[in-house]
Amino acid sequence: MSSSNSGPSAPAGLSFSRPAPDTLCVRFGGAWKLGSRRPAFSEFEKALTPDVRRLVFDTDGLEDWDSLLVTYVLRIVKSCRARDVAVDQGGLPEGARRLIALSTAVPRRKDAARKVTKRSFLFIVGEDTRAFVLAARDMLTFIGEVSVAFARLVRGRARFRAGDLGLFIMECGAEALPIVSLISLLVGLILAFVGAVQLAVFGAQIYVADLVGIAMVRVLGAVMAGIIMAGRTGSSFAAQLGTMQVNEEIDALQTLGISPIEFLVLPRMLALIVMMPLLGIYSDLMGILGGVIVGVGMLDINLMEYLHQTQNAVRLTDFWIGVFTAAVFGVLVSLSGCLRGMQCGRDSAAVGQATTSAVVTGIVAIIVATSLITIACNMVGLN
């Protein structure tokens, strides 16, 4: 930096001399550049004997230098200050002197450094419990706010843009059809395959139609659609709202007196809650189609016979339970996506965490809800 030379320069060198009995002269030579090896600091410490009271620098042999030299000198200065040795920086290149002055101009913030405290097991348990309670409270608050927003919607007083709702309905509905078709068809196929092998032992292949029909319509259609929507739409809600949080867009709504829950959360939730039962029904049909492919193609069951068998097996009650389950999933997936998005921190890493958390929360909620609905149906005799 101080002098640009084209040829290869000598490596960083360090030597010492004693121009006076109480003075140590530190001589820098060669090129002190980032990327080259510099002499160990212990060499200097060895040379700094207790009788040294003054330290000077000699840089006549220095060919080139950068931060590597400055950090070394800063260490020397620090070490000398600790031992009350006077340092004369006159021999250093002017640029290096300025950099040293600049780097010591603002004193190190003592209180800025973090205190690392060892936390006891009890402390950690307590802290995590507290965090859990707070998170539960946040979730309840959010659910409360959303309920209020829905109540306002019913009374026709909620404020959001109808265009947004249409857009979200398209996103949660039509645009999700290809992936829902593929996954549900394959689940139907797999179910039929596995069932067929077992049922063939008893010569009861025809019951594949019952198996696939009931399983898909009553629970699997809704679960498949729910999990797909948690991964596809719940995460996208969280990412959208999280990014809006980072860009202060949500603050802007609040300062304008517009409720972000009504303006942002409501249309998203409404769209998914409306579309989810429809996606569930679509998923049922696709699953049954998968069963048909195996039944007709592999088990040589007549198409009409298969459909007739399905029609007899699936009751209207199963269908309504499926639709109800899907609607519940719509609430859960959109709620978890929007909740995590609104809770998002203010940086890009937080958006990632919000998205992950939305998917995890959504899927856990789906599984728990499925279990609860199944048990509840059993208890009221809807078998």
Binding site: L34, G35, S67, L99, L102, S103, A112, D347, S348, A349
Partner: protein
């Protein structure tokens, strides 16, 4: 001042798709300059900076770093040149998942084979240069906007660059912080013997530290003036340049 030109811009045209933003830009940035790219909002100042730092290719024309034709190089060659160039962005653009120390350390870890201790020492030194000694373990979200800009500068000068680019360094800062950032830029230029290229329309900054500039005009889509802003203020006859440099006040 007749220092050697470190960046030569020759007949550069910038465009987004078919839409030409600026054409026929030709100017030199000399060693040791504090060079300002100025002009009204939306005239393409930031786009020009993107072209200079290798983020966006020009639609036509050439850019030379010393005598190397920058955009004719393969991407690997451009990367080698960019090692000697530091860039700071408007909002700091610190990586939010890393502490300040990790932010500054990343270029050092990538381009040098220094030991972890040496890197930690360099990181502390760079942060102390920008007045952030002691803030090593902080995350960008935990410090103020002005501090983020300074931390961005510490990262930009991690590898002792020959040229430092600033995109609107004092935007969003109070006059005193803005002034001290100007001083810092000057001091870093002097002590690192570097060249500074700045996109800004802060007149106090321009007149306090700059000695060379180019003025871009959105209407004619080309540069309408270049040179020392002080000289431009005294001698330029162009009404747009005069209006800009006097904040539109009648004289």
């Amino acid at each position: 001042m007749n220092a050697e030109a470190v960046i030569k811009v020759r007949n550069v045209t910038m465009a987004y798709g078919g839409f030409v933003v600026m054409r026929d830009l030709t100017f030199d940035i000399r060693h040791g300059d504090i060079f300002i790219i100025m002009g009204g909002s939306g005239c393409g100042k930031s786009t020009l900076m993107k072209i200079l730092v290798g983020l966006k290719p020009p639609a036509a024309g050439e850019i030379f770093y010393h005598d190397t034709n920058f955009w004719q190089l393969p991407p690997g060659g451009r990367k080698d040149i960019m090692k000697g160039v530091g860039v700071t962005y408007q909002s700091g653009a610190l990586w939010s998942a890393m502490t300040l120390a990790e932010n500054v350390a990343l270029p050092l870890e990538t381009y040098t084979d220094l030991s972890a201790d040496e890197i930690a020492e360099l990181v502390s030194y760079k942060l102390s240069l920008v007045g952030l000694a002691g803030f090593e373990s902080y995350y960008p979200s935990e410090i103020s906007g002005g501090m983020r800009k300074r931390a961005g500068l510490a990262r930009a000068i991690a590898l002792d660059p020959e040229i430092v680019f600033f995109d609107e360094p004092s935007a969003g800062l109070d006059p005193i912080s803005s002034r001290s950032l100007d001083d810092l830029i000057l001091q870093i230029r002097d002590s690192l013997d570097a060249t500074v290229v700045m996109v800004t329309h802060e007149l106090p900054s321009i007149f306090a530290i700059s000695n060379n500039s180019v003025f871009l005009d959105a209407e004619t889509r080309t540069m309408i003036a270049s040179g020392d802003p002080h000289t431009l203020l005294r001698e330029s006859k162009n009404p747009k340049v005069r209006a800009f440099l006097t904040r539109g006040e009648k004289q």
